[in-house]
């Protein structure tokens, strides 16, 4: 932004970004540079826009070879479009919660509140300027490659629904901002918003084959009407819904954005509590309890829920997949569930970034901070993989497919020390990580988790001995976990 004139609109956008992305994540360890944090949030926006543009076009090439139905394609692009908008606007909408800084600053200036409405709206739109361009351009190109308008229509509906969802979230935040309990509950609920879109993104095979052409009543519904473009009614209703949703999203934006001005910090309510002190003697359990208490009051709850959502989708899939192919599919589903359990330790570490100074002044080591995460991951892993394995066994899948999943715990467990090291770096950076570093860390964790599984398949391929494959996988996981734990304990 250097060199550009600082308009009120640009200053507001900057402040919204700062309040939403970074003010709520300060660790208290070292001074943070707000401009650096805002600049990182902007860089992330540019990077994500570029990735989405490439992904949409790339996907369209893949779709040329898939047997995707019109609605399947629309749902896929709906998910990709919606998530990019939501992920850029949702943190900004948190600026509404408990922050009266902007109101206090603006009320001291000679500005009419009514005149601020369009300024706030433009500030909000500037947060999604590049994503909008990337989505529109990407979906137009994708439609041209496929030779049908479904990618474009799906993306348009995704953008509109995402903006409306954010507006509803802002209104809800605003009405809940006077009570901290309601405020936390709203924040936790809002965290599920991205999951709606993520579901369409991560389960393309599940949605791709949805054929609704026989259910003609659906041609009157938003999004579904796009599957009936061969009929004039389908075309008309698609145009009407797209216009109506677009109009609603556009006209509500100024008043939603202005809600930031009316936000107020919740007042402390004097509240005596009954009962004595519940002091747990185990440090590990005490930290785990606090981690969970903080997670359920924050957006991190959505990360904890990701493995659960996947688990539900795959459990449904086990009942719709023929038993003959279920065995082969089980490894894919089981490993994917295992892979997504890494969100559990990651989210617990992320929640500790804020107020890291509080934990650092206590007599805890990095290893003792990692143990609660390991304990929770163990419970989550075996709850999901255990139930999934039981469901597959019930459907006649043999132990050769099930045992590797149950023995594979140490693969995601390696993500605990890896995430620990990553967050140590984050704290050294003042509580916010560089975009490139964040991407590299994510890739690194993904690879680490994949190594033991890769070794299992390699050994199985070479020797053909199941037991040897499992033993190699467990050994590789144990080695990886131990080395990373050692590095975590020695870090810094």
């Amino acid at each position: 932004m250097r060199g550009r004139r600082l308009t009120l609109e640009r200053a507001l956008a900057r402040e919204i970004l700062y309040q939403g992305y970074t003010a709520s994540r300060q660790s208290g360890l070292r001074p943070t540079n707000p401009m650096r944090s805002v600049s990182r949030a902007n860089t992330m926006k540019y990077v994500l826009s570029a990735i989405w543009l490439i992904a949409l076009i790339g996907y369209s090439f893949a779709l040329r070879f898939e047997r995707a139905t019109p609605l399947g394609m629309m749902l896929l692009f709906f998910g990709w479009g919606g998530i990019l908008i939501v992920s850029n606007l949702l943190p900004a909408s948190y600026a509404v919660q408990g922050s009266s800084y902007m109101r206090d600053a603006l009320y001291l200036l000679p500005i009419d509140e009514g005149g601020l409405e369009p300024t706030f709206a433009r500030a909000f739109i500037s947060l999604i300027d590049y994503p909008l361009v990337a989505l529109l351009a990407g979906s137009v190109v994708a439609s041209a490659i496929i030779g049908a308008p479904y990618p474009f229509l799906g993306t348009i509906f995704g953008i509109e629904v995402a903006i409306i969802a954010i507006e509803v979230t802002i209104f809800a935040f605003s009405s809940a901002s006077k009570s901290q309990t309601k405020s936390y509950a709203m924040r936790a609920l809002s965290a599920f918003l991205p999951l709606i879109f993520v579901m369409f993104m991560i389960s393309p095979t599940y949605f791709m084959g949805i054929d609704v052409s026989r259910y003609t009543l659906l041609e009157f519904l938003p999004l579904a009407s796009g599957a009936f473009l061969y009929s004039p009614v389908g075309v008309a209703f698609t145009a009407i819904w797209a216009a109506l949703l677009g109009y609603y999203a556009y006209t509500r934006l100024p008043s939603a954005a202005l809600r930031i001005l009316h936000a107020s910090s919740p007042a402390a309510i004097a509240k005596r509590v009954r009962g004595g002190w519940r002091i747990i003697r185990s440090r590990t359990l005490a930290i785990l309890r606090a981690d969970i208490q903080m997670s359920v009051r924050s957006v991190m709850i959505s990360m904890l829920v990701v493995p659960f959502v996947l688990f539900v989708i795959f459990m449904m899939t086990t009942y719709t997949t023929p038993p003959a192919v279920l065995g082969a599919m089980s490894a894919y589903y089981g490993i994917e569930i295992a892979y997504f359990t890494i969100f559990v330790p990651y989210s617990l570490y992320a929640i500790e970034v804020r107020g890291a100074a509080a934990m650092r002044t206590l007599p805890v080591t990095r290893v003792s901070m990692a143990l609660p995460k390991a304990l929770l991951l163990l419970v989550v892993y075996y709850a999901f993989e255990g139930a999934f394995s039981a469901a597959m066994a019930f459907r006649g899948v043999g132990p050769a497919y099930i045992v590797p999943l149950l023995a594979g715990f140490l693969a995601p467990a390696s993500s605990i020390p890896a995430a620990g090291i990553m967050f140590e770096r984050t704290l050294r950076e003042g509580g916010s990580l560089g975009t490139l570093q964040a991407i590299l860390n994510f890739i690194m964790i993904s690879l680490l988790v994949g190594v033991p599984y890769g070794i299992y398949y390699a050994v199985l391929y070479v020797t053909g001995v199941e037991l040897l494959g499992i033993a190699s996988m467990v050994s590789a996981g144990a080695l990886e976990f131990s080395v990373l734990m050692y590095l975590l304990s020695r870090y810094g």
Partner: protein, 244 residues
Amino acid sequence: MPVLRVSNLRVMYGQKVAVDGISFRIAPGEIYGLLGPNGAGKTSTIKAAVNLVEYSGEIDLMGMGRPRGNLLNNVGAVLETPAVLEALTVKEFLELVASIRGVDGRRIDALVQAFELNEYLGAYISTLSQGNKQKVAIVSALMHRPKLLILDEPFNALDVKSARILKDVVQNHRRDGGAVLFSTHVMEIAERMCDRIGILNEGKLVMEGTTKSILEQARAGSLEEAFLRAIHAEEEVKEIAEAL
């Protein structure tokens, strides 16, 4: 043996030098005050003393090395921005700290009553005023009767009664052989409470000693005068005041 020994401490944030090679010691039963203008390096020194920022040089706690991990059970720290977990209620946070420090409920009860926090035990820390957040941090720092108390501008947001209680607690802590490192802007408090004072300016320790020896070194009649002389701001203050 000193409770805290700081040798050639240097703290940098990127290219900016916040603390530039300072050294000092705090003996048992001693209160050591850090004085200095804004940005002098007081908070960075204190954060380094509890291992919150990266540093070079040496910090030794009771001859056992760098204050980290389990060694921190000998330290109670109250930072300028209270180090609390804001998404927890006061009770939940104090329970967590008590669990980690191995403290029982009676001690916490006494401190909570003393600092009048019992009304707020069920309130989320994020909703508390700065003063009440400070009190929560103080209770968590005192609950395990640490050998070294580290206090960064501890009286800033406190009401008169709580400030007085904290001063008395600090004096009692010294009487019982505990050590205190604290920073303040308030000269009267430093003069009245500290056994020794270190004056920081631009990251360097420009003067150190008892109040009496500092007054002698600076040839000043008051600590405020000595302080302004130590940071070479006496003339500047006069000029600015006259210009205004």
